[in-house]
Subunit: 261 residues, 2 copies
């Protein structure tokens, strides 16, 4: 059974201020909690219906995870999902600092002022698909431990290192030979470019694109063309940030893999 | 001023049953309403704050559009947006039937059981970017006139022909030489394939992928590889449907454009 204090604690973790205070975040649903339990992250507590506890009893015992059996009605009461799914876990926010040199190898993603939790989660899921391990976010980007971001990553939050930094300072500190790929509404056609070195894909915010202070750090501007239709044909004005990120990840990772990087 | 009946009518259009009954749908915000007013769609009514009416008075008069001046507080009361933006329009749902032969040329998109309004809207926006004009949806896909879909298309709803059909019947009626591209978790690597003819990109639902009844119609199965990492490395299990659609649109449209199709 859920106590009044437990309900209050769970609900508080839907708000960033209290996630920071408790250094804890919510993970919901069978798939995401299963990924959480197989990861390096520390599980603080599990609230689950009897069916889930029966199916996961060995793992809960082996890992010595504190748990409370709850009813479906209780789960619905505290869940952040439109269709609550058997289990809700509380995990510890890992302590991260400024990215170290070893975090800055291979392909990386830098997010500048991304506000939509769905976009942020989807970009992390896409990056994870293509083997990207580090995501560097501006401090005004949405919190990666927001339940809607965690949900949209579909478990990828367990495999990524996410850093919140002053992005201009971060780019200033980078070795100048590291490519910084930036999607622009105009610029060199991505499909005509040759990519031979991994670098950082910089994605701008949904409403303002890449900030003016960051544009000077882009040494590999990219443009995704329409490809089709007459030059005067009307098209969407832009691509969604997470779609642009998907296409850029695809094109660059494809070429790097062919060059056996 | 908004009357009680107007509030009731606007709110009813957030529900599919009443959209069908009134053959009308909501369009919100400066950008989407501006795209609507420049399109072939019929605008039935506009509710806007004085600032918007001042800026758009000529167009409203020229097109003889019925309008009501409202306050920001009234707009907030009826808006479906988290940040209401000056104007809300009601447009007529265009009458569409089964796609005609002229709708079935060039690249097309077929959506099988897409439930998430954001995904549907983003896929339409992406298709519009790449010059795709027709979207064929299974009858269990989310309604394109759902306010959240309209919003996510960012105006692309004005430029697309959207059909709701029995998808297996539709594919049966297609000329067998039309390529049907289907994204699979395993199959031929999309980056190794040569695309020389336009066809239909079939995207499966977020939770179940492409239905079993539709798989036999796929004559061009495609797989988006991870490209990177060791074969045993853990990755996201799948890509979000709208990201897979973005990458497939990009790769096929790029090749067709290079072949001057």
């Amino acid at each position: 059974m859920l106590s009044h204090n437990q309900i209050k604690y769970i609900n508080s973790l839907k708000i960033k201020k209290f996630r920071m205070q408790h250094q804890a975040f919510l993970v919901e649903g069978v798939k995401s909690v299963s990924e959480l339990m197989s990861s390096h992250l520390k599980v603080l507590k599990v609230f689950a219906i009897p069916e889930w506890l029966d199916n996961n009893f060995k793992q809960i015992k082996n890992k010595n995870i504190e748990f409370t059996e709850i009813t479906e009605e209780e789960l619905i009461k505290v869940s952040d999902l439109s269709t609550p799914n058997q289990v809700l876990a509380i995990a510890e926010i890992p302590s991260v600092t400024f990215p170290k040199t070893e975090d800055l190898s291979g392909m990386m993603l830098a997010l500048d002022g991304i506000r939509d939790p769905g976009n942020m989660g989807t970009m992390m899921r896409t990056a994870d698909w293509f083997g990207i391990k580090s995501v560097i976010c501006s401090t005004d980007s949405v919190d990666v431990y927001n339940p809607k971001v965690v949900q949209a990553t579909m478990g990828s939050f367990c495999r990524m290192n996410v850093f919140y930094v002053n992005l201009p300072e971060f780019f200033k500190s980078l070795a100048p030979e590291i490519p910084v790929f930036g999607a622009m509404l105009e610029g060199p056609d991505i499909s005509q470019k040759i990519f031979s070195r991994p670098g950082i894909i910089l994605i701008g915010s949904e409403s303002h694109g890449i900030s003016g202070t960051l544009k000077p750090f882009i040494n590999e501007p990219l443009h995704i063309p329409h490809f089709s239709g007459t030059p005067t044909a009307k098209h969407a004005e832009s691509l969604n940030a997470s779609i642009a990120n998907g296409i850029i990840c695809y094109e660059i990772c494809k070429q790097l893999s062919k060059n056996n990087f």
